[in-house]
């Protein structure tokens, strides 16, 4: 894996803003490894994000990059894609960005099935604003707005994506780079709307408030909270209870928005 990351990075934008131990950089590298395999022309790639620590990623990447408003990345991204379907559009979003303020855009983007890949850097907390609870904060976990532990049930990003119509859905942990690379690559290759629930650790806010320890201890926790979907059949319901499957969870094929609209144009513009 000795690839040259710097061919895809804006060196002059370093150092990045992320805290030591933050998982966001690890996922960014997985995205770059996937793109390196695909060999898409850099001029054809557009990386769109919302607002948050995770959403700062595009600023470091040497593509066409669009850092939008909080929660709205998918709406900008769909505008880009529809206007020029030849562009390869990737969206990076935090769990707050994608699932709270952007939740409505999320479900509708899944429903439309445009050829866009959304990677949710999911750290179960609002990092940038200082550790408030997010829609994926686990019940009982603490945030600065849930000092006694969250009483709400979290969203399962993948279940939401599948139920809403995404055509490729996967989950991976930043600790498992091989699995992360694999699902991001497949997501990018899927001709339709793909969602990757990429787990990341916010050491500074989630880790400290919940006394989960440093980055490696947090990653171990995430491992304990998940199981490989390929082993699911061999596991008992008790073993799976309360745990999240990781790996490719769902894939299907159905008409892609821009292709359908292209057909419509042909049909009516005669």
């Amino acid at each position: 894996m000795s690839m040259d990351y710097f061919q895809y990075l804006r060196k002059e934008r370093m150092p990045h803003i992320w805290c030591p131990g933050c998982g966001h950089g690890t996922i960014m590298k997985s995205i770059l490894r996937a793109l390196d395999k695909l060999k898409w022309a850099k001029d054809d790639v557009v990386v769109v994000s919302g607002i948050g620590c995770s959403s700062r990623t595009p600023g470091y990447l040497d593509f066409n990059t669009l850092h939008t408003t909080h929660g709205r990345a998918l709406s900008f991204a769909q505008g880009v894609k529809v206007a020029n379907p030849n562009l390869k559009v990737i969206v990076i979003s935090g769990d707050g960005d994608a699932m709270a303020i952007g939740g409505n855009h999320f479900i509708h983007a899944c429903r439309r099935n445009m050829d866009i890949t959304l990677i949710v850097f999911n750290n179960n907390i609002y990092g940038m604003t200082g550790g408030q609870a997010s829609p994926t904060t686990f019940t009982g976990s603490k945030g600065t707005t849930a000092p006694y532990g969250a009483i709400e049930q979290p969203f399962d990003v993948c279940n939401m994506a599948q139920a809403s119509g995404a055509t490729y859905v996967a989950r991976a942990l930043d600790i498992d780079a091989v699995a992360m690379d694999r699902v991001i690559l497949s997501a990018l290759q899927n001709k339709g709307f793909s969602v990757v629930d990429a787990w990341s650790q916010c050491t500074t806010y989630f880790g400290r408030q919940n006394k989960w320890g440093d980055a490696s201890e947090m990653m171990d926790r995430y491992k304990e909270m998940t199981y490989n979907v390929r082993l699911a059949e061999k596991m008992s319901p008790e073993e799976k209870a309360g745990k999240y499957p990781v790996g490719m969870l769902f894939q299907t094929s159905r008409p892609e928005w821009c292709e359908e609209y292209g057909k419509l144009i042909e049909r009516v513009s005669k």
Partner: protein, 385 residues
């Protein structure tokens, strides 16, 4: 609607509503992307666009809300399409954050706001002019504003073309503030031949492949030339304070330069932006300042006042913002009284008062009952002491 009116070599005569004329104007201006969400009294624009755009190879998408519509048109514009959305009060409120983004990131786009009564759901089908100040100041922070307001069907067409031209020229979000009466009334309209419509496209930088591109580096015009995504010059766009490279910069000097430039690029060229009409203002002792459908009642009132021997005149700003201040002052140079009728509680009147100062009394005629302002109401303000 059959053949392409906008592609026609000769003028075409039609009988259209304002919303339809607005759509024809947008297509004539080169709009090829529309994102929207249904809301009265603007929905016809989206409906007609959904039928017409694909015939021209353009794209229409109905979004899940107005926030998304606004985001989508910004994205589409960055990818090179002239883009627009249309909405009304509640939807316009939802768009404000992304409107500010378009201004900050200097992405050309057009927003049509067909004004209905507010606040809140207000009067969905009644006319109003109560968003005038929201059109100017709706999004947060200091920002430029270009807002046009037509009073006829032909003008709905022309001002929509202008909105696109201004958006492209100034790299900003331009607002067309139509009131419900103009949007829904029908009139005969002569759609000009294609070659008679002036079209402005975004200025491109003069670059060879491989040249460095600073997306926010402006020349003396203060308006940076613009590359679209996918044209071979990768760059970064953000709503954060940024420098000429487009990357975030919190340096106080950079912030000051950016914010002043964003406002000054419009301020500096404002004479090119002023569209207005003077009607019998040369010797007007009573000046009426009115815009949109209200100006039509005002013109009638001016004629009736003249018939009674009163030297009345009408100044009609078509460009509401930037405000044609000098032109208003000039029209008022003989005025002993100024009357400002508006379907709101005096939003533009306050501007007129500010421009003319205490020397001239300014009288408002305001209606917020969902009814147009009748000429007789304006006439009594002209005649009255």
């Amino acid at each position: 609607m059959s053949a392409e009116a906008t592609e026609k070599k000769a003028p075409v005569i039609k009988f259209l509503a304002g919303n339809e004329a607005c759509m024809e104007g947008a297509l004539a201006a080169g709009c090829r992307f529309f994102a929207g969400y249904p809301i009265s009294p603007s929905s016809e624009i989206a409906e007609k666009m959904s039928g017409r755009l694909p015939k021209l190879g353009g794209k229409f998408i109905q979004m899940e809300d107005e926030i998304a519509s606004m985001g989508a048109i910004i994205g589409a514009s960055l990818a090179g399409a002239k883009s627009m959305t249309a909405t009304s009060g509640p939807g316009f409120s939802l768009m404000q954050e992304n409107i500010g983004y378009a201004m900050m990131a200097e992405v050309p786009c057009v927003v049509v706001n067909v004004m209905r009564g507010g606040p809140s759901t207000g009067n969905p089908t009644g006319p109003s002019q109560s968003d005038v100040m929201q059109c100017r100041w709706g999004t947060h922070g200091d920002h430029p504003a270009i807002v046009l307001s037509p009073n006829s069907i032909r003008e709905a067409f022309d001002t929509t073309v202008q909105c696109f031209n201004f958006a492209e020229q100034f790299r900003t979000c331009v607002v067309l503030a139509m009131d419900e009466i103009v949007a829904h009334m029908r009139e005969k309209i002569v759609i000009p031949a294609k070659e008679d419509i002036k079209i402005v496209n975004r200025k491109k930088p003069n670059l060879k492949p491989g040249d460095p591109y600073k997306p926010y580096e402006a020349d003396a015009s203060l308006i940076p030339p613009m590359m679209n995504f996918g044209e071979g010059f990768r760059y970064h766009v953000t709503g954060l304070d940024h420098d000429a490279t487009g990357f975030p910069s919190g340096a106080p000097d950079n912030q000051e330069i950016l914010h002043r430039r964003l406002v000054d690029k419009v301020e500096m060229h404002k004479d090119e932006l002023f569209l207005f009409e003077n009607h019998r203002t040369e010797d007007a002792e009573v000046l009426v300042v009115a815009y949109g459908s209200t100006s039509r009642s005002a013109k009638r009132a001016v004629e009736e006042a003249r018939a009674q021997g009163i030297k009345a005149g009408l100044f009609r700003p078509i460009t509401l913002f930037p405000i044609p201040e000098k032109q208003i002052a000039l029209a008022a140079s003989h005025a002993k009284k100024v009357v400002v009728p508006e379907m709101n509680l005096g939003q533009y009147r306050l501007e007129v008062e500010r421009i003319l100062g205490p020397a001239v009394p300014v009288v408002g005629v305001h209606r917020v009952n969902g009814e147009p302002i009748a000429p007789s109401l304006i006439l009594s303000a002209i005649v009255g002491g």
